[in-house]
């Protein structure tokens, strides 16, 4: 970073990237030698085997979910990653697509169009909606655009909830459009050229094909006239405009493409779920999609795809306490490794935490003799059982500990130097204690906390995301 701008340094870039050191060097060089297309094909082939490898429809359903996330994240990446527009109303397109498909393929208004037609209508309408909702981006940028689009997203959910009693001047009674909080159910499956997609596995393959098509399409678009124009617009809108790029039209185009992708995903979602409900399109989903894009690295297609897979799969993994533990302790450990230097300090903190654990466990063994074991699990759980103190009334003590943990974490972030090193083991142990007594048993809360923690660790350790390239804003 420090040497940026020095041409000689740049000239050596080849040598520097060549010179991977260590044992893994040959592996990494081979990996780099494989063209991106082949890597992608191999990954998708592996994924395609998933329904064959498992007979659990739950796992396939998670796969379907991951693909929906993947489509959404790729679409959002066009708006945010390429064109650099902060669109917080993105979920509205997903919902709009889902509801449009639902209305045109159910008894809600008694219309059952052929799926080929419906999908085209959905994509066209959501692209159009993208154009319309993109209009503010002609004048608003950054925070302002974010707020206005967030508003659109909220309006969509409100409309979905309240459009079950729409009074129309020409209708006798109130018209039920969206089904209100009860949503629309009994949606037709997708039926394309005579093939009906009925099982989850069918949709898995439909989405796989759509995902591959989208990824390849976007990959080609990135390096094309339009992709370059989007990125130029993200880099410097004023300079882009001065070079003859129709900046406003390009922004609207990005919104339309992103919207169309989300609309398509929404339609498939409606068909898979056989129903759509307002709560399917709430802000939490938006946060998850953004998390996928940020985690993977905005602007990088493989990064965003991997981010989406991680974000879709990991809440499911959290349902199993042992896996949840792996993630939790993994993130904590990863965070420590990324933040604590020198190594001796890291080692001291870790050793301190372990020792402290056994001391506390031993000291409380008298007070809490027949302590309930930590949440059930395998080897990890048993090991932890010997380390984490487990009170009989875990809920109460855990809650108190949780309340203590928050100021403790805040305090640690304020402390400097040796004081922090001394305080860390206590805080870490407290965190483990809270985790074992309270959180592991409540995945719904844990999920969001862990997601937040992962993002915080990523921000510090790798702000550009997994596969993103660090961006230079100004020189």
């Amino acid at each position: 970073m420090t040497k940026i701008g020095t041409d000689e340094w740049v000239a050596q870039v080849g040598e520097r990237t060549e010179a991977y050191r260590g044992l893994t060097a040959p592996v990494r060089r081979t990996w780099d030698g494989i063209p991106l297309g082949w890597r992608f094909a191999a990954a998708m082939l592996l994924v395609a085997l998933l329904p064959v490898a498992t007979d659990s429809s739950y796992v396939v359903r998670v796969g379907v979910n991951a693909f929906l996330f993947g489509l959404l994240a790729l679409g959002l990446n066009v708006v945010v990653g390429y064109a650099g527009l902060l669109d917080l109303g993105y979920i509205a397109f997903y919902g709009f697509g889902a509801y449009t498909y639902a209305l045109l393929s159910s008894d809600q208004i008694g219309v059952h169009l052929p799926a080929e037609l419906t999908l085209i209508v959905v994509v066209a309408l959501t692209a159009g909606l993208g154009y319309v909702l993109g209009l503010p981006s002609r004048r608003l940028l950054g925070d302002y655009l974010a707020i206005v689009t967030l508003f659109f997203g909220q309006v969509f959910v409100q409309l979905a909830i309240h459009l079950d009693r729409l009074s129309l001047p020409w209708a006798d009674g109130p018209v039920n459009v969206t089904g209100g909080p009860n949503g629309i159910v009994g949606i037709d499956p997708i039926r394309l050229v005579g093939v009906t997609f009925s099982s989850v596995t069918d949709y898995f393959y439909l989405l796989l094909v759509a995902f591959v098509a989208l990824a390849v399409g976007l990959h080609r678009l990135t390096a094309s006239r339009t992709g370059r124009a989007w990125r130029a617009l993200r880099e410097d809108p004023l300079a882009a405009e001065q070079m003859g790029l129709p900046v406003n039209r390009l922004k609207l185009l990005a919104f339309a493409v992103g919207g169309a992708v989300a609309g398509f995903a929404g339609a498939v979602f409606a068909a898979v779920q056989v129903g759509v409900f307002p709560q399917n399109f709430e802000t939490l989903l938006l946060i998850m999609i953004y998390a996928a894009v940020i985690l993977g690295g905005a602007g990088s297609l493989p990064g965003v795809a991997i981010g989406a897979a991680v974000i879709a799969v990991f809440p499911e993994v959290l349902r199993t306490p042992d896996y949840a533990r792996l993630i939790f302790y993994g993130v904590v450990l990863g965070g420590l490794v990324a933040l604590l230097r020198p190594w001796s300090r890291l080692a001291a903190v870790l050793a301190g935490t372990v020792v402290l654990g056994f001391v506390v466990r031993f000291a409380t063994a008298a007070a809490w003799p027949d302590a309930a074991a930590v949440a059930p699990g395998g080897l990890v759980a048993r090991a932890l059982g010997a380390w984490v103190a487990t009170p009989p009334n875990a809920t109460t003590v855990g809650n108190v500990a949780f309340v203590l943990l928050v100021p403790a974490v805040l305090a640690v972030t304020r402390l400097r130097g040796p004081a922090r090193t001394w305080a860390l083991p206590t805080v870490l142990y407290l965190a483990a204690f809270v985790w074992e007594t309270r959180l592991v048993a409540e995945p719904s809360v844990t999920r969001q906390l862990v997601l937040g923690a992962i993002l915080v660790v990523m921000m510090t350790a790798r702000p550009q995301g997994l596969l993103g390239t660090p961006r230079v804003e100004m020189l």
């Binding site: 370059r228 124009a229 990125r231 130029a232 880099e235 070079m243 961006r471 230079v472």
Partner: protein
């Protein structure tokens, strides 16, 4: 070719350009000089549509540009570089130049996605054009540098890349805002020759803002001096340099600075 008549612009009561008449003729190199804050950059911003004039007409070959969107003005044939370099930093050197060909290329999105023969042909042509523009700078922007991000370039190379990018829009008039600012004497000399070549070899019409009087002397067919938004002198370099008002504007500034 480019013509300004009675152009005025003020920012919140501060008159920055006042009733300015100016013209740049075909294949001419016009230098605009004046002390800092004289309104030179604002003049370029008016011509390129970054800001709209309060009054007056700006015409390119008789076609009125005032008040039109900036990208249309660029498409009409006006391109520029910036005093504070504004590259697409996180795009490669080649992409920076290729991006500027947007207006005169036509590949639709679906054609790029399907890689139709037309799209592929156009992409190859755009690449070749960009390479050609970069080749104009000798070995400076060649080889491995094509695929380096623009931010990795040295300062002088960034200025060169900005010129290459401006050339790629196929301008009829090229506006260069202090192209030699921040360069060492050797680089300044090179820029001087380069601007002359832009006119002689490529056939561009050029207006250039420059502070370095050696550069101005070396390249100008005609010089216009601005002070407080008013044209105080116009003519050959020798005429303008000898003009008492120009000397005063520069000297006045110096004495004011000394106080």
């Amino acid at each position: 070719m480019l013509e300004l008549a009675g152009v005025s612009k003020s920012f919140g009561g501060l008159a920055v350009i006042r009733d300015l008449d100016l013209h740049v003729d075909d294949r001419e190199i016009l230098s605009v000089i004046g002390p800092n804050g004289a309104g030179k950059t604002t003049l370029f911003n008016l011509v390129t549509g970054v800001v709209a004039p309060d009054a007056g007409a700006i015409r390119l070959d008789g076609q009125d540009l005032a008040g039109r969107p900036a990208h249309e003005i660029a498409q009409a044939g006006i391109s520029r570089t910036f005093q504070s370099i504004r590259l697409f930093l996180n795009m490669t050197v080649l992409e920076n130049v290729m991006a500027a060909t947007y207006a005169h290329t036509g590949a639709r999105m679906w054609q790029s996605v399907l890689r139709t023969p037309a799209a592929r042909r156009e992409e190859a042509a755009v690449r070749a054009q960009a390479a050609e523009h970069l080749a104009f700078f000798g070995t400076r922007l060649q080889g491995y540098r094509w695929d380096q991000p623009a931010y990795s370039l040295s300062y002088a190379n960034r200025r060169r890349l900005e010129i290459a990018r401006a050339m790629a829009t196929r301008p009829r008039v090229l506006l260069l805002d202090e192209p030699a600012a921040g360069m060492n004497p050797a680089e300044t000399h090179e820029i001087t020759e380069l601007i002359a070549r832009l006119r002689d070899e490529v056939g561009h019409t050029i207006a250039v803002i420059e502070h370095d009087m050696h550069v101005v002397e070396g390249i100008s067919d005609r010089v216009v001096a601005l002070d407080h938004g008013v044209k105080i002198a116009e003519g050959s370099f020798d005429e303008v340099a000898a003009d008492t008002r120009v000397v005063e504007a520069y000297l006045g500034l110096r004495t004011a600075e000394r106080k």
